[in-house]
């Protein structure tokens, strides 16, 4: 079977799964829904392997195929087909998305068991995977936008999954609207591409672009900047990131799937996919790289001070995506994609472990209240540490190799790009500190109440769940887990999913060790064929110096975290006091929310109020009331002849216009 046939099947299974579960929600038993959901993604993964094997059986140069089902909207010179594009990059993404998603579905199978919205959850989850696959397989900019927006909608649906929780619905709305801003960037970029190149099709666009555009011409720069609006909104880069931390209102498997493994990497994929355009617009690419750098640093500072377990991990995601955006923008394409892969493993794992802990805490996410879970939840703790090690880039783990590959590339490119290496290491230090801050705050120490209960009775805390943000009791009818929560220690599917990911987080980097093997680079190389940037390669010496520095920094960071949170736990408090303004800035998330509120939301509402209360009433209505008044006045004269307001009015008008018409007729002939 050809690679494109496999790819169509990859799309088919999740869509079918979503529809079957969605339509059959009354008829299907809960278990069956979960199984259908999980199996459909697993089948998609299998088909992804099929596509991979089919590609590997071909000449490296011939490994790109387009295929289309039907003309979607092709008239008036627009060529929009329902078409896909299969090449190593899309297959690589397909494998990550379906692979990690299968595990997340498996985890959800256990985790969501007591949730009333079980069917709905799996239907949405499958739809989400379908959307993401559509995004990575799309063969033109229009279908890309469709996948892009579907992903945005699916994340809206999943974030506000517990839809009677108003913090969740607000967060969903925020995510959706910011994502729409991103969609608009994408659509405008597509218009501009069409105007200049006369096509929306990837093949045509990438082929024609180097002929039509000269480097750094304003049009190509504008196209790339518009694409970046889309990329930043979806990948939570500054300043369009504010939806991501709020999105933690959704169930934890959602955070794991959307906000770690797949959706937020879409921007990275987009830049890699359109690298031909970005290489023609180096200015735009540099802007992207600097935004990535700024995001990775700013997000890391926020992750250092967050007391909400999931939000801290969310900021860490932002920061890691910053590395990837930086990587693909400076030309480290394969390295960026490699980091995308390893990050999917360890971040999905971290969220799963966090979910297990949060379940044990009866949905409380505050790390100030957590301690001693190392004893209470052995399996969860071990996997959590595995994830944290990879995130901190502990030597030998997957994150260690992938992060350093990006930084080594920046170094090899030299010149201005050394900044990215240096500040990238600063970010790496913060990463190591905040990841082990979480480990040391949550796992060791005297067990907290919930942990103690777990140790004593083997049961999870059974308090009625409350929304930590508002204190409202949760409405468990619509699908909140209710008093019964599920933790990895008591659920085999969850353990399997976390176990596999823990192994991958630790050893996933071994497929790409400098000087030993380069599986990822070799596979992806045909995609960047002809790109001068992709040809830059760090020397082995640079690679190993980088790895050395990276390893030392990781160990140093973990050491600092150990001192701060285990040896001398009074230190953080004192540091906080000493650096009060800085801490306030970080803890308030650099006031991005407030700034957007002040600059966008308030003015919009004020305009709305003005339109509604003043303009509509006095100007628009005034117009008709005014005419009515005039007419009434005039009507008074006519009333002697005719009674009835409308009739007289109509007559008056007919007479008037007949006269007018007569005038025009006479004057123009």
């Amino acid at each position: 079977m050809s690679a494109t046939a496999w790819a169509w099947l990859v799309l088919l299974f999740p869509l079918l799964g979503s529809i079957v579960i969605g339509v059959g929600f009354h008829a299907l038993p809960q278990k069956v829904a979960g199984i259908i959901g999980t199996v459909s993604i697993a089948l998609a993964f299998a088909c992804g392997i099929g596509a991979l094997l089919s590609l590997l059986g071909e000449d490296p140069e011939a490994r790109h195929h387009a295929s289309s089902l039907w003309d979607y909207a092709s008239v008036a010179g627009l060529d929009i087909k329902l078409g896909i594009f299969v090449d190593p990059l899309s297959v690589f993404m397909v494998l990550i998305v379906t692979g990690v998603s299968t595990l997340i579905h498996l985890y959800s199978y256990g985790y969501m068991q007591s949730d009333e919205g079980y069917h709905r959850f799996f239907s949405y989850l499958n739809f989400f995977v379908f959307s993401m696959l559509l995004l990575v397989l799309a063969g033109n900019f229009v279908l890309l936008t469709v996948g892009w927006a579907f992903v945005g909608f699916a994340s809206y649906a999943l974030i506000s999954f517990w839809y009677r929780r108003e913090t969740a619905t607000r967060a969903g709305m925020k995510a959706f609207v910011i994502n729409v801003v991103g969609d608009i960037g994408l659509v405008l970029a597509a218009f501009l591409i069409f105007r200049e190149l006369g096509s929306f099709d990837y093949g045509t666009v990438f082929e024609k672009a180097p002929e039509v555009f000269t480097t750094n011409e304003w049009t190509i720069t504008a196209i790339c900047l518009l694409l970046l609006v889309g990329a930043f909104a979806k990948s939570a880069q500054l300043p369009l990131h504010t939806w991501l931390p709020d999105a933690m209102e959704g169930p934890t498997p959602v955070s794991s799937l959307i906000h770690a493994a797949t959706m937020v990497t879409a921007g990275v994929y987009l830049i890699a996919r359109t690298h031909v355009l970005f290489e023609l617009a180096p200015t735009a690419a540099d802007i992207a790289a600097f935004v990535g750098l700024a995001t990775l640093l700013v997000a890391a500072t926020m992750a250092l001070v967050m007391t909400d377990l999931k939000r801290a991990i969310a900021y860490s995601t932002m920061s890691q995506i910053g590395y990837m955006i930086m990587g693909v923008s400076i030309g480290a394409y394969s390295a960026g994609m490699f980091h995308l892969m390893t990050h999917a493993f360890f971040k999905a794992l971290l969220f799963m472990a966090a979910g297990s802990i949060i379940a044990a805490m009866a949905n409380d996410q505050n790390i100030d209240r957590m301690s001693g879970f190392g004893k209470a939840m052995r399996f969860t703790s071990i996997t959590f540490v595995c994830g944290a090690l990879a995130l901190a880039a502990f030597p030998g783990t997957s994150g260690f190799f992938s992060k350093d590959e990006i930084l080594a590339f920046a170094e090899a490119r030299g010149g201005m790009y050394l900044i990215f290496t240096v500040l990238g290491y600063v970010g790496a230090l913060m990463t190591a500190i905040y990841s082990f801050r979480l480990v040391f705050r949550v796992l060791p120490g005297r067990p907290c109440k919930e942990a103690q209960e777990l140790i004593d009775t083997g049961h999870v805390a059974h308090e009625a769940p409350k929304n930590p943000a508002t204190g409202e009791p949760e409405d468990t009818d619509v699908g909140f887990p209710g008093p019964e929560h599920h933790i990895a220690e008591q659920s085999l599917p969850m353990r399997v999913a976390m176990g596999v990911l823990a192994v991958l987080a630790l050893v996933g980097g071994l497929i790409q060790i400098p000087g030993v093997d380069d599986v990822v680079t070799k596979f992806l190389d045909p995609v960047w064929e002809g790109s001068p940037l992709a040809a830059i390669e760090p020397t082995l010496g640079e690679d190993y110096t980088g790895l050395g520095i990276g390893g030392v920094i990781a160990l140093l960071g973990i050491g600092i975290a150990y001192v701060l949170y285990v040896r001398r736990p009074e230190l953080p408090r004192r540091l906080e006091q000493r650096l009060r303004p800085l801490h306030t800035l970080f803890a308030n998330k650099w006031y991005f929310d407030e700034a957007i509120d002040f600059l966008v939301v308030r003015p919009a509402l004020a305009i709305g109020r003005f339109a509604n209360r003043t303009f509509e009433r006095f100007v628009v209505d005034g117009l008709v009331n005014g005419t009515a008044e005039t007419v009434r006045g005039a009507g008074g004269v006519v009333r002697a002849v005719q009674s009835g307001f409308v009739r007289s009015y109509a007559l008056l008008l007919i007479a008037g216009f007949a006269g007018l018409a007569l005038y025009f007729l006479l004057s123009s002939s």
Binding site: V75, Y163, F176, V177, V180, I184, G198, D475, D621, V631
Partner: protein, 518 residues
């Protein structure tokens, strides 16, 4: 065929007057269903690649005045006729499922309204068009005035007062249009044989001076009907007063007659004025988009949210037409169909919400999805299509419109697209505040019943079907649209026409295969 489609509803309406009160509702449903069947037959037999008038009927009617009974179907009106037929089945069936006061007159008026609306779409004679255009509103005056709701409280208004306001607005527009139509024919005849036939008028161009004022007379009528910004004063009160079954068809179809009028009458007959006033109309369209969107997200009455969102949507459609590009107008026609298909089910949902909760105010609703998951899912699809979610046909419509605008007037396109972001907010807000969030104490909710499902599900299936294959509309629309747009652009200087061509066309011109005729 055209005649059969046109008169079927009226025939059923007249016969219905002799039936007992109880049966009249179902009789009316049958009448609309037969009309729909005829429309479908016409659509199936439609020759896709052709821009010519099909199923044409052309008989002299008032020969002294040069008025013909001339009907026909082409790419511009085919899907609007289908839309009309579909929505009338929905609206009439919705009413038939419920007790109606004075049922005989109610259904009679509904069917008269359908014939009049179909007439406006089918007419290929200018005076016939104007007649149907005016006739169309008469049954709605009665429906709104006699079966409407009086509103008390702040900003309250009685149904008859709201109707009066609508009459004042639309009458002005109608009379202006009547005068303009007569003037067009007289001036075109220039002392010779008087004719109102659109085909004939297309041949005889008017002088630029006369085009200029006649353009505005027609534009005024069409802009009021849509309604466009500043001419929408009648809309909020009329929408709040209207009985919901009538509003389902009114909002879905009547606004489009205005936009259709631009394509059918204004662009071909007054090409010079169209080019001259392009930017003025675009400004009005943009203002409608922005103002409609802003108003939509401040309203709490569900009818008004839908109403103001229509103002914004019709703004997009107008902008698409006045981009004066083939793709813009293709998108506009598609979007007319799309908008009818979303706004009608939206009002069905409004009616169902009202029956369940007793309120139309979203601030008094919430959390209804739990007891009504199917209704919520259907509503969600409608809402997503309303906000032109990529993947819906509405997105393709807007995409074509904006692409056309982008080619023609890039700045306008950038402003217009901000309306897309706002639509995401107001549409989703409508869904969220009714279906999600906390349920107010004592609010009842129940699942959609089988009967209402029979109305809502087919409409939603139409939305989904078009989403999967919008090409079905586009490929039938494109030839006629291309002809209309070419008519407008024929007087442009060759350089500017070259600038707006696609790359393939440019290559053809360069190679000499295609010639620009000045």
């Amino acid at each position: 065929m055209s005649s059969a489609i046109l008169w079927a509803p009226l025939a059923f309406g007249l016969l219905g007057l002799f039936l007992p009160q109880k049966a009249v509702g179902w009789w009316a449903v049958l009448g609309t269903a037969v009309t729909l069947g005829l429309a479908i037959v016409a659509a199936v037999g439609f020759d896709t690649g052709s821009s010519a008038m099909q199923y044409a009927v052309d008989e002299p009617w008032i020969s002294g005045l040069g008025v013909d009974y001339s009907l026909g179907i082409d790419g511009l009106n085919l899907f609007l006729i289908l839309l009309t037929a579909v929505l009338w089945v929905g609206g009439v069936a919705f009413a038939a499922f419920r007790e109606q006061e004075r049922a005989k007159s109610f259904f009679f008026l509904m069917l008269v309204a359908e014939t009049a609306t179909l007439g406006a779409f089918l007419a290929q004679d200018l005076l016939l068009f104007v007649l149907f255009f005016d006739l169309m509103l008469v049954p709605f005056y009665f429906l709104f005035g006699a079966w409407g709701h009086d509103r008390s409280g702040e900003g309250g208004i009685t149904a008859s007062a709201a109707t009066l306001k609508m009459i004042v607005y639309t009458l002005i527009g109608s009379l202006l249009m009547l005068v303009a139509a007569i003037a067009t024919a007289v001036l075109a005849a220039d002392g010779g044989h008087l004719t109102f036939s659109l085909a004939a008028l297309n041949e005889h161009g008017l002088g630029e001076g006369s085009q200029r004022w006649i353009f505005w007379f027609f534009a005024a009528a069409f802009l009021v009907k849509m309604p466009a910004f500043m001419l929408h004063g009648w809309m909020p009160d009329a929408y709040r007063a209207a009985p919901l079954p009538a509003l389902i068809v009114f909002s879905g179809v009547l606004a489009k007659v205005g936009a259709y009028g631009f394509l059918r009458v204004v662009l071909p007959l007054f090409p010079d004025a169209t080019v001259e006033f392009q930017e003025v109309i675009l400004m009005i369209a943009l203002a409608s988009i922005l103002y409609g969107s802003v108003m939509a997200f401040t309203q709490t009455n569900v009818r008004l949210i839908a109403g103001y969102s229509s103002v914004a949507q019709l703004g997009f459609i107008t902008a698409g037409i006045f981009a004066l590009q083939a793709d813009g107008s293709d998108g506009a026609v598609l979007q007319m169909v799309n908008h009818g298909l979303v706004v009608a089910p939206l009002f069905v949902v409004v009616a169902l919400l009202l029956e369940r909760t007793g309120t139309e105010d979203i601030s008094e609703m919430g959390g209804l999805a739990l007891r009504a998951p199917v209704l919520a899912a259907l509503f969600l699809i409608v809402v997503l299509a309303t906000l032109a979610m990529p993947g819906s046909a509405n997105f393709i419509g807007e995409f074509y419109i904006l692409n056309g605008l982008f080619e023609a007037k890039i700045v306008f396109a950038f402003v217009a697209i901000s309306g897309v972001a706002m639509s995401a907010y107001y549409a989703l807000r409508l869904y969220q505040q009714t279906m999600h969030n906390r349920k107010p104490e004592g609010l009842l909710s129940r699942e959609i019943g089988l009967r209402d499902g029979l109305i809502l599900v087919p409409l939603v299936l139409c939305i989904v079907g078009l989403a999967l294959y919008p090409q079905v509309v586009l490929e039938r629309t494109a030839p006629s649209v291309a002809q209309t747009v070419a008519k407008v652009r024929q007087n442009e200087p060759p350089e500017s026409r070259l600038a707006s061509m696609s790359l393939e066309e440019k290559a053809e011109v360069e190679s000499g295969a295609l010639k620009i005729v000045p």
